[in-house]
């Protein structure tokens, strides 16, 4: 027989041979098919939600920044106009003052006494003015110092040096106006740059505007009003919209809430007695979008695993063992060996020990409030809903016939555990400009039952934990 003949024989015999298929195979395939379809649906939904939220937040943040840049530019143009009109005013005043001095000189020449009296008055005036001037200088220095401080980090912008004390009030005013112009230009440049960094902007603005407004107050009340109004306007326009990414992990404690009809209460007691909760955990990441300086929304993806120990003494378990018996019998003068094999069926109990796992992938949608507090510590309160997109189970459970069965074979639980409510209190500590650490004790309450309607009981698993993680600002 050749190799080909040998191969053909096997091929012909087996190619169309049919074997027996387990009766429940179609049900198993049907169940698996639906599970796969639901799994794909929920993952697609989760992906679409994540992409939508991320894209939406991105455009929200960037559109907000553009608007604030435009607003700042507009207010700067208005400021320029006001300042240039002020400069014109002061130059006119300056020329008037020179003319007055000249006329006074002529008068001095003509009338000595009068000139003395005028001079005396003028001296008094000038000393009174010098008091004001000192005040100007003092305030100018403060405002300029503050501006210089703010501008020190900027390359290419000369720090503004306050001029030495001068007895001429008018000159002081001019110096002030010039300085003020320069300061405003610097402010404009600063604003243009800082408007791209809302957080920095808010800080710098506070530093700049306070002394600057103070200086302006003592110099010219009209300027003070203008600047003060504009400062308030800017603050309203520039709302910080920071975004963060949080990575976190949490040790969890889970507890069950079960219920059943009266006739199944004993079964439920037995079932619950076999399952003991052990340490569980959650890990995940969240995208945080600040809505203003206090309120925020969060979303992301979370994996939770609830662990429990299953220990159950399964009664009326059968096993079959084979017993071989050999013996020798003395017949006449010789031995005859007899051996026999019998099957023995034993009834007993079986102890099943297993670590059960209930895993779930979730999408949290949360809203919260954060205090400003001190710069390093912030407290927050967060609440919202957690949508379960897929759940998987591994382990054993007691079924209604009081047998220990595989959870998946029993088909007891849904592939989605259901929606949960979430509430947490948080505390975060800033460790660098972009990074902060946070701790967030939380409670998660499941709203719907995780059991299939065909099961004689309902079950929800609630959990509480402490999320510890890191928050990155980008």
């Amino acid at each position: 027989m050749t190799e080909n003949q040998f191969d053909d024989f096997f091929r012909k015999k087996l190619q169309h041979h049919e074997s027996a298929v387990p009766e429940d195979m179609w049900q198993r395939i049907d169940r698996r098919k639906n599970k796969r379809r639901r799994f794909i649906f929920w993952w697609s939904l989760a992906a679409v939600l994540l992409i939508g939220i991320t894209t939406g937040s991105y455009f929200l943040v960037h559109n907000g920044t553009k608007e604030s840049v435009v607003a700042v530019k507009q207010s700067n143009q208005k400021e320029k106009e006001t300042i240039s009109s002020q400069s014109k005013k002061s130059s006119i005043e300056k020329s008037n003052s020179t003319q007055t001095n000249l006329s006074r000189k002529e008068a001095n020449k003509n009338n000595g006494q009068q000139a003395d009296i005028t001079a005396g008055k003028q001296q008094q005036k000038s000393s009174a003015s010098s008091g004001e001037t000192n005040a100007y200088n003092h305030n100018d220095k403060r405002s300029v110092k503050a501006l210089n401080k703010a501008n020190n980090s900027r390359a290419g912008i000369e720090p503004i040096k306050p001029e030495a004390g001068n007895n001429n009030t008018q000159k002081q005013k001019d110096t002030y106006v010039q300085n003020n112009n320069q300061s405003r230009q610097t402010l404009e440049e600063k604003d243009k740059e800082t408007s791209l960094h809302p957080d920095t902007l808010q800080k710098n603005e506070t530093v700049k505007s306070a002394p600057a407004t103070q200086a302006i107050k003592s110099a010219d009340s009209s300027i003070t009003q203008n600047v003060a109004v504009k400062t308030v306007k800017k603050k309203k326009e520039r709302t910080p919209k920071d975004s963060y990414i949080e990575l976190y992990a949490s040790p969890d404690y889970a507890w069950k809430q079960t219920s059943s009809a009266n006739q199944y209460s004993d079964y439920l007691k037995t079932k619950n007695g076999a399952e003991k909760s052990t340490l569980s955990f959650s890990v995940g990441f969240r995208y945080v979008q600040m809505l203003n300086s206090h309120f925020f929304i969060k979303t992301g993806l979370q994996f939770s695993q609830i662990n429990e120990q299953f220990k159950y003494k399964s009664l009326n378990e059968y096993r079959t063992i084979s017993v071989d018996v050999s013996r020798s019998i003395l017949i006449d003068n010789g031995y005859t060996f007899i051996s026999s094999r019998s099957l023995l069926r034993q009834v007993g109990y079986r102890i099943v020990e297993q670590n059960n796992r209930y895993s779930s992938f979730d999408i949290p949608l949360l809203i919260g409030y954060e205090t400003n507090g001190s710069s390093s510590f912030k407290a927050s309160v967060t609440s919202g809903v957690i949508f379960n997109i897929h759940s998987a189970y591994k382990g054993y459970m007691v079924d209604s016939t009081l047998k220990a069965v595989n959870i998946n074979d029993a088909g007891a639980y849904k592939s989605q555990m259901g929606t949960s409510l979430y509430f947490s209190l948080g505390l975060s500590k800033k460790i660098s400009d972009n990074l902060s650490l946070f701790g967030e004790p939380y409670i998660r309450y499941r709203l719907s039952s995780m059991t299939q309607p065909s099961q004689p009981f309902n079950q929800k698993i609630h959990s509480a934990g402490l999320s510890l993680g890191v928050r990155y600002k980008f």
Binding site: M1, T2, E3, Q5, F6, D7, F9, F10, R11, K13, L14, Q15, H16, H17, E18, S19, A20, V21, P22, M25, W26, R28, I29, D30, R32, K33, R36
Partner: protein, 178 residues
């Protein structure tokens, strides 16, 4: 219902059509699974997974070649994926088998399908896979090499040894019969 209508129904995800398709092919596909799997539960798992894939990807069937052949390919691929998780070792066993020429053609006539299946299942993993793929499914050694990530030469030698081991089993069966 024709095969074409059955396929269209399955594309529409009509459960009745899916059930009919399963009833038509499940017996033959179970044989395929049993030939590859190491035991019955593994064969059942392969069959279940393979039919889920058939229903998922049925829209991709282009009506080129036989439909049964297309299903069979999915079953074989699923079986290989399941088995390869166990990390099969293509062992080189001692060459003590019988030559095919020593077996008389009439010696095979009394062998039933169940006996042949049993003999195949008793082959080591590597031998069994190559024998099934090459002899029953008709794959070339180059194709087998790609599927199992081995050298074509290894496939050839595994097939030769699988044949010899089967022939040895047949001869020993003949001796018992005598």
């Amino acid at each position: 219902m024709t095969e074409h209508e059955l396929i269209k129904g399955c594309i529409r995800k009509d459960t009745t059509c899916q059930r009919m398709l399963f009833e038509t092919y499940s017996g033959r596909m179970m044989t395929v699974c049993l030939r590859y799997a190491c035991d019955h539960p593994e064969a059942e798992d392969i069959l279940q997974e393979a039919f889920v894939r058939v229903f998922t990807y049925i829209a991709q069937y282009k009506h080129e070649g036989s439909f049964e052949g297309w299903i069979r390919r999915i079953v074989v691929t699923t079986a290989l994926k399941t088995i390869q998780k166990r990390k099969i070792k293509f062992r080189e066993l001692t060459d003590a088998g019988q030559d095919a020429s020593q077996i008389q053609p009439h010696a095979l006539t009394n062998l039933t399908e169940a006996e042949l299946m049993k003999m195949i299942n008793e082959l080591p993993d590597g031998y069994r896979l190559v024998f099934n793929l090459a002899v029953i499914e008709g794959y070339s050694h180059e194709e087998i090499a790609k599927l199992l990530d081995i050298q074509p030469g290894t496939s050839r030698s595994q097939l030769v040894k699988a044949r010899r081991m089967l022939q040895e089993q047949i001869i020993s069966l003949q001796k018992i019969a005598v």
